[in-house]
């Protein structure tokens, strides 16, 4: 087993920053009761202003007024840790959330697919940076050692033989002991872990609670550590809350890009696609506006999800300012990647037909893109369909016109030149769509050839039903 620990040192701040269009703007997270609000985290721009963690908001306001203040929400942090676990689930079947602000990922069994480790690590770092989370990563033969080593150095990769040497040099204060135990050890003059390890076990057991020895053993890999395994949920919900009211769709596009990107990351982790998802625009009052996005086949490509959602969103008329924006996806069918050709005949082909069709449907409406199919029926109105029909064979008929008019039009020719006919079409008495007509091939005055009919047997007015184009 080999465990990677991904430590997220400023998870709360990153989670807020990534939903902002301008991450360089000074921003602080505050927490605490209204009377005494304490600064919980600051971004580098706010630090330049002199604002530090632990100050009261009043003190910070006294230093500068030019920063954005966001309420720190522990649930929000929890949500993002779970989200990142969903992301990491793509790389390993065993992801644990047992430690706060950290992910423990079993990587040994994934090395065959993503390895060797330096390349795997590079990929993890790149994706985390793209998602907007700062991170530290360390690898060790056991999970606890990985969690402790990431405290002291970023990018460590330690195997079984090196582990004792690294552990010996570890400062006691950063070895993950309970605070009172760490304090007691420090007061005893023990600075490094090898000094603690050199003490007789019996005396340690007498002076300290049992957990200390357990901790030491687990750290060295002598005791196994049971870790919870993350199970990805069956649906996705992402939400961005604004601390101002958004009145135009254009300002929703940046959060939309983030949310659809998150959805794509989630889908990649679960190896599934999405066929239907809903955009929720929450207002101050009343029900949120729902914008459903439906696709014909399961997809998960982030750019495409964004384009489609954008197409639907831009058609929406906002009835009130938006306070929060959410994406929900509940049906997550299996994703079957489209088979690509090895030799593409047309190298410029940038967009597959399926994606193009979705884009057209997103802007023109669900029914805008139709197919054409034959139906085995002699009545012209029933002889074709916009949906694919199974097993309809072509009937043996005289030539038919290329264009069929949706509504027959009167033939404005008193003495038409009849080229062919009549052909009687009489059918449909059983389903109520009874048709009894005599069809003729007629040449009109301007030289076009029309497919015209009048009621069977009679000599009523002629109607044009199609054109032989």
């Amino acid at each position: 087993m080999r465990w990677a620990c991904i430590l997220l040192p400023q998870l709360a701040l990153d989670a807020v920053l990534r939903t902002r269009e301008d991450p360089l703007q000074p921003l602080v997270l505050v927490q605490g009761p209204v009377q005494r609000r304490l600064v919980q985290a600051v971004n580098p721009a706010a630090r330049e202003l002199g604002i530090r963690r632990g100050q009261t908001l009043t003190a910070a306001r006294a230093l500068s007024d030019d920063f954005v203040c966001v309420e720190h929400d522990p649930e929000h942090v929890q949500y993002w840790q779970t989200f990142l676990a969903a992301w990491a689930y793509r790389f390993s079947s065993h992801v644990s959330l047992d430690y706060p602000r950290a992910l423990l990922v079993e990587v040994q069994s994934s090395l065959g697919l993503f390895g060797p480790w330096p390349r795997f690590e590079q990929r993890l770092r790149r994706e985390l940076t793209e998602l907007g989370f700062s991170h530290r990563i360390a690898v060790a033969p056991n999970a606890l050692a990985a969690r402790v080593l990431v405290n002291v150095a970023d990018g460590l990769a330690v195997d079984e033989l090196q582990l004792p040497d690294y552990l010996r040099e570890l400062p006691v204060s950063r070895s993950g002991f309970a605070p009172e135990a760490a304090n007691a050890l420090a007061r005893m003059g023990l600075r490094k872990l090898h000094q603690v390890l050199a003490l007789p076990r019996a005396s340690l057991a007498r002076r300290f609670p049992r957990s200390l020895l357990d901790h030491l053993d687990t750290l060295q890999g002598l005791h196994p550590l049971a870790l919870g395994a993350y199970q990805p949920p069956d649906d996705f919900a992402g939400r961005v809350e604004f601390n101002f009211e958004v009145e135009s769709i254009a300002s929703l596009l940046f959060p939309l890009r983030r949310l659809t990107g998150d959805l794509a990351v989630f889908l990649a982790g679960r190896d599934c696609g999405v066929q239907r998802f809903v955009l929720l625009l929450e207002h101050r009052e009343g029900e949120p506006t729902q914008v459903p996005v439906g696709l014909l086949s399961a997809e998960r490509e982030p750019g495409m999800l964004f384009e489609l959602a954008r197409g639907r969103l831009e058609a929406v008329q906002l009835r009130a300012p938006v306070q929060a924006f959410a994406v929900r996806a509940q049906e997550l069918p299996r994703f079957v990647p489209a088979a690509g050709e090895l030799f593409v005949e047309r190298p410029q082909q940038s967009l597959a037909w399926e994606q193009l069709r979705e884009r057209l449907r997103a802007r023109l409406g669900d029914d805008a893109v139709q197919g054409l199919a034959l139906c085995a029926d002699h009545r012209p109105e029933q002889a074709w369909s916009a949906q694919p029909q199974a097993g309809a064979a072509q009937l043996d008929e005289p030539p038919r016109p290329g264009w069929l008019l949706a509504e027959p039009q009167p033939l404005d020719d008193l003495f038409p030149r009849i080229l062919c006919g009549p052909e009687r079409i009489e059918s449909g008495w059983w389903d109520g769509g009874d048709v009894r007509r005599d069809y003729y091939l007629v040449e009109t005055r301007d030289g076009r050839r029309a497919w015209a009919f009048h009621a069977a047997g009679g000599a009523g007015p002629m109607w044009v039903h199609g054109w032989f184009a």
Partner: protein, 203 residues
């Protein structure tokens, strides 16, 4: 005038106009009508360009002209898209003309949406041919379609009323269909002189 300038360098600097543009060797897109193929310098439709067909009215023989090409393309498993056709394509007739119906898509749109849809289809490069019946077109819209056809390397057809013949067009090929007698004139073809006489296709 003392110095001798090599012809090659002048040509490379593009300071001499050569009178006739070099036609890039494009994919051959035969129309399926021997008379028309023989008359056109490109030996058929202009691939990756806009081909314009001007009609007196819908139903003037445009499908007889296009069906052989569409049948060939759909048989080659290429997708053919009809954008805003003037009437319902009557499936039995299209099947009689050997067009593979499953490869055919129809987009119902109007006005500027139709032009947008046609441009998207052309630009994507996933279609073998795109046929568009725009309601109103100006030079700019046609130019966009022309550029989209080049970008996506797709055969594009635009079908417009006869009265547009007097206006200039950026299309690479312009054909005018006439009804009485049933014939066809080539108004413009890129890369050569348009034949001056009318061609009878004969149905």
């Amino acid at each position: 005038m003392g110095s001798v300038v090599a012809l090659d360098s002048l040509l490379q600097q593009r300071r001499v106009w050569r009178g006739r543009q070099e036609v890039p060797p494009a994919k051959l897109q035969p129309t399926g009508h021997a008379v028309l193929d023989a008359a056109l310098p490109s030996g058929g439709w202009h691939a990756a360009a806009l081909n314009e067909i001007l009609l007196p009215a819908a139903g003037s023989g445009e499908l007889q002209l296009l069906w052989p090409t569409l049948a060939r393309l759909t048989a080659e498993d290429e997708r053919v898209v009809l954008v805003a056709p003037p009437a319902i394509p009557f499936a039995p007739a299209w099947a009689q003309a050997r067009v593979a119906l499953p490869r055919l898509s129809i987009i119902q749109a109007s006005g500027s949406d139709a032009l947008w849809a046609a441009e998207q289809c052309l630009r994507s490069g996933s279609c073998g041919a795109v046929l568009c019946w725009p309601e109103r077109t100006d030079d700019r819209a046609l130019r966009r379609l022309q550029v989209a056809a080049e970008t996506g390397d797709t055969l594009a057809f635009v079908l417009r009323p006869q009265r547009e013949a007097i206006n200039a067009s950026p299309a690479a090929l312009r054909l005018l269909l006439e009804l009485r007698p049933n014939q066809l004139r080539v108004l413009k073809c890129r890369g050569g002189l348009a034949p001056s006489h009318a061609l009878a296709l004969g149905h």
